[in-house]
């Protein structure tokens, strides 16, 4: 391919993944957006309870989890980038690291829930904790689904590494494109999980 056509190819607008995943991602973000508006509105009505409860949250856990998800997103991006190369080598490693970060997030979340529940704080304690448990719980559900998605990415990456090593296994160009589309869809989903947390964290833990 000449340099000029390479350039043209790169500047062509590219939507990562398949169009359908964006129906899901944007739909999901609209819903979480609605959740956040309801939260902020009710917080405005009764801010004392919210401030007092917010002060009892452990910001360190939230911050560590933010780092975990940001790192995992970076690993996923690196993994996808590696998958685009002719010879795939490091993608399975990147996806494994992303999974470990996801796992770390889950462990911290469970420790945090345990601390709160053993202190007698539950879903029905007050409005703030209602939102805290439901929002972080629904987000945690997204993380669990995301872990399944990461396993899928890892399997695809491992198969790609094997193909790179063994040239007798060939894949048609359109199949490759199709596979890349699935991988980008999965990665986009994981980035959304990350993004939702990046909004949730300041909203619940930090916002004054």
């Amino acid at each position: 391919m000449s340099e000029a056509s390479e350039y043209v190819k790169k500047t062509k607008p590219h939507v990562p993944g398949e169009v359908g995943i964006w129906v899901f991602i944007l739909g999901d973000m609209v819903i979480f957006g609605l959740f956040f508006i309801v939260f902020i509105y009710n917080r405005g009505l009764n801010s004392d309870v919210y401030f007092q409860s917010q002060a009892t949250l452990n910001q360190n856990y939230g911050a560590i989890n933010t780092l975990f998800l940001l790192a995992s997103s970076w690993f996923v991006a690196m993994g996808v980038d590696d998958m685009r190369r002719k010879v795939v080598r490091l993608a399975p490693l990147f996806f494994t690291l992303a999974m470990l970060c996801g796992l770390g997030f889950g462990v911290v979340k469970i420790i945090e829930y345990r601390e709160k529940i053993s202190a007698g704080i539950t879903l029905t304690t007050n409005d703030f904790y209602m939102y805290y448990y439901i929002f972080t719980g629904l987000h945690f559900l997204h993380v669990l689904i995301g872990m399944g998605v990461l396993v899928f990415l890892w399997l695809k990456a491992r198969a790609a590494v094997q193909r790179s090593a063994d040239t007798s296994i060939t894949k048609k160009e359109n199949e490759k494109e199709n596979e890349m589309m699935l991988i980008e869809s999965g990665a986009s989903y994981w980035h959304m999980v990350d993004l939702l947390w990046i909004v949730l964290f300041p909203l619940l833990y930090l916002m004054k």
Binding site: V19, G20, V23, G27, D28, N42
Partner: protein
């Protein structure tokens, strides 16, 4: 191939929406939903003051609920085209859809039981009222599975001209997840996650109704496509 039966079934879905809204909302007056924080006397007053309308509205609501059966059936027929000989997801849809009809029929029957003798002890009326609402709003599980398996079946469609576009698969999974907040109403009497709340009631209700409106034209298109395929063979 009988297209007419399929079209009839698809229209049943729309009829369900119209009749359910008419009976439950406009005649029986269950929307906007009453607050779970209402006292027994307030609840009893609702049944005592609107007895006739509730009875009439509920007959229509109860009838309309079963119209969702043919609707689920025609979706199943189209999913079967994707799945072929061993249609596990299609069967899952049928079973979940059948349970879904029960979930739509039973709450109106419980409410009409409350309206049957409105002069009885307000505590008992409240019990029936609670039972109806909890059953109706909280039981998201069959609908969750219903929409999830539709999504999964659409994802498995490898045909060059698929029955449904792939985004419809994502849409169905999205709807499935949105029904989940209904499961939280057991914890709350007030707020957005109570049975009259914006996030546990209004959002799932609008999404569920919207799902019919999105799926309807897509079903008509899929049936049309099936006709063309059969003719070209």
């Amino acid at each position: 191939m009988n297209t007419k039966a399929q079209l009839f079934c698809a229209w049943c879905g729309v009829s369900f929406l119209i009749l359910f809204t008419l009976g439950w909302w406009f005649i029986a007056g269950y929307i906007p939903p009453m607050s779970p924080a209402m006292s027994a006397n307030e609840v009893a007053a609702f049944y005592q003051e609107n007895t006739g309308l509730i009875r009439l509205g509920i007959v229509i609501t109860m009838f309309s609920a079963a119209l969702s059966a043919p609707w689920v059936a025609v979706i199943a027929v189209q999913l079967k085209r994707i799945e072929g000989d061993f249609p596990a997801l299609t069967y899952a849809l049928l079973v979940a859809g059948a349970v879904g009809v029960v979930v739509l029929v039973v709450p109106p029957m419980v409410w009409t039981t409350a309206a049957f003798r409105p002069e009885r002890d307000p505590e008992l009326i409240m019990l029936l009222n609670d039972f109806g609402w909890l059953f109706f709003v909280m039981t998201f599980s069959p609908f969750f599975i219903q929409n999830l398996v539709i999504g999964l079946a659409i994802f498995s469609d490898k045909a060059s001209s698929p029955v449904f576009p792939r985004w419809v698969g994502y849409f169905n999974v999205w709807v499935a997840i949105l029904l989940i907040p209904g499961g939280l109403i057991t914890f709350f009497k007030i707020g957005p996650f109570a049975w009259d709340g914006i996030l546990a009631f209004w959002l799932p209700l609008l999404v569920f109704f919207g799902w019919f409106l999105v799926m309807f034209p897509l079903l008509l298109k899929a049936i049309k496509q099936q006709v063309l395929l059969v003719e070209s063979e």
